[in-house]
Symmetry: C2
Amino acid sequence: MTETVVVGTTTWGTTLALLLARNGVETTLLSRTQVERDTFLRDGENRRFLPGFTFPAALSISCDCREAMRNVSLVVIAVPAVTMRRNLAGICDHIPHEAVVLSATKGLEPESSKRMSQVLEEALPSHLHGKLCALSGPNLALEIAQGKYTSTVIASRNRDAASLAQRLLMSPVFRVYTSSDVVGVELGGALKNIIALGAGMADGMEAGDNGKAAFICRGLAEITRLGVACGASPLTFAGLAGLGDLIATCASRLSRNRYVGEQIARGRSLKEVLASMKNVAEGVPTTASALKMARSLNIEMPITEAIDSVLSQGVNPREAIARLMVRPPKPEWDDVG
Amino acid sequence: MTETVVVGTTTWGTTLALLLARNGVETTLLSRTQVERDTFLRDGENRRFLPGFTFPAALSISCDCREAMRNVSLVVIAVPAVTMRRNLAGICDHIPHEAVVLSATKGLEPESSKRMSQVLEEALPSHLHGKLCALSGPNLALEIAQGKYTSTVIASRNRDAASLAQRLLMSPVFRVYTSSDVVGVELGGALKNIIALGAGMADGMEAGDNGKAAFICRGLAEITRLGVACGASPLTFAGLAGLGDLIATCASRLSRNRYVGEQIARGRSLKEVLASMKNVAEGVPTTASALKMARSLNIEMPITEAIDSVLSQGVNPREAIARLMVRPPKPEWDDVG
């Protein structure tokens, strides 16, 4: 019998399972098929998504959802946003009544533009709604697997639920803060990818550190405006799940969204870049979703508009940035929502 | 007769003079000696501090302060913090009564820990106090000289003074925002160097992008707390003069403070690193000043304490970071001042 189940066997889910098990928390990584389970057991690692990181003793592998979920106190869900609803349909009947459900997925549901906790509330039975949590922050999975210092935020409207998840995940190299701002933590993780696309464009056109820093900074102001209009706290966007994640994503060679922006600025088409990638760049659909939200809420988002003009209308990134630079200047914060 | 005088012939002053003159603003760069003036005129550039950037036609060189200041509407001061008071003594009698005086110096006065505008108020005649401005932001000088996209903030309690400086400095590659928060803009530029020292340490110990991002993020929260206690607006710290400058400094190979931290984490002593540098690393004295201020205002600054323990007590950076990671976790924003 284990204490925790992790749903999602790509890099992120595997990393979180590793983290829990290294803390001595009895953890089951729920594999999708019997074949996958057997491969994991044979290899003693997830060779496809996280090669080189041996499963700790406290990590079990199972493809029997009912059995794996029995009596667990925490269910961690780390599946792509696009498959969240489908995954929940397969597990929702097996989650114990008292369990805390923690979403570690960054991104919005395509089409609906819903946050993951909104999808959870729609897909899970109501007795689980009171203990939903969301995790986000500057959390490049590979670095966590390598045991490098990392901090994150777990948000919940239920303080006890957040504390339970915090207690299980916290370690001397993984620092967990708690927050009550679920909307902010989820939107921070999703919206920052828009700015990462733009920061990648700045990299691709060799704009320099001044320009990239200003871009990140004004970009954060803009996604904060949208987040606040959606009910988030501005402090969350100034914290690990907003600013922190944004800095890590915009700096890292590992970020897919940054990479897409960089390649476009070097002259490749969006279609060509996306076709060459194994993984989804969540920022592309998120840019369109954010613009839709901004228009309906009457929020000004000039940077997001500029990125969208590059992505969806093929505007040259240099031209898009040049347009941003010559808008009539204002006091720095007069336009804060 | 020129419109603007720039005081300060190191890299930063020369860059600002270039920027103004490229905008077609008739500008005088005030040189310290006749020999320096003659060298500038002969070379057509500042070969020592900004080699390779030819003086534009609108840039004059003078070592006659009285003559240079005659009828100018803007005096830009870009001298090291440590020599600010001495420099002002030499020019204060020549500044026209109606001129706007803009400080572009980042850093606090050593010993007194005063901001540059406080030093200006003490050193300049009172009829000039109403039009003082401070400029700060992610402004690596070399990139500005190269004509790369840059944004900055000019703060003043006098909106017309800030607008005049904005109008003269703004260009399609140099975007100027205005602000009324002089304290915040000045403290952002000074305090961010503390965090840059720590970010350099993270680089030197190869802590990774997660850890560095979390460090920058929590560091910003901490210097914001101090700034707010000193009367600054938290929004300024979330803006170009706080966050923006912090991101550029922590990312750039050009930052001296980041470099100092990196070298210490690689095992060199502070004394040895400082002795090997031509320029001052303002973050070192600023760390001590900030701690003094924090203690007198009863503000908690664990990151600044950790950096100070490395700088002044020779604590190993790894040990200092490890101590930060295991402090009892709190809700992310409960400790905001």
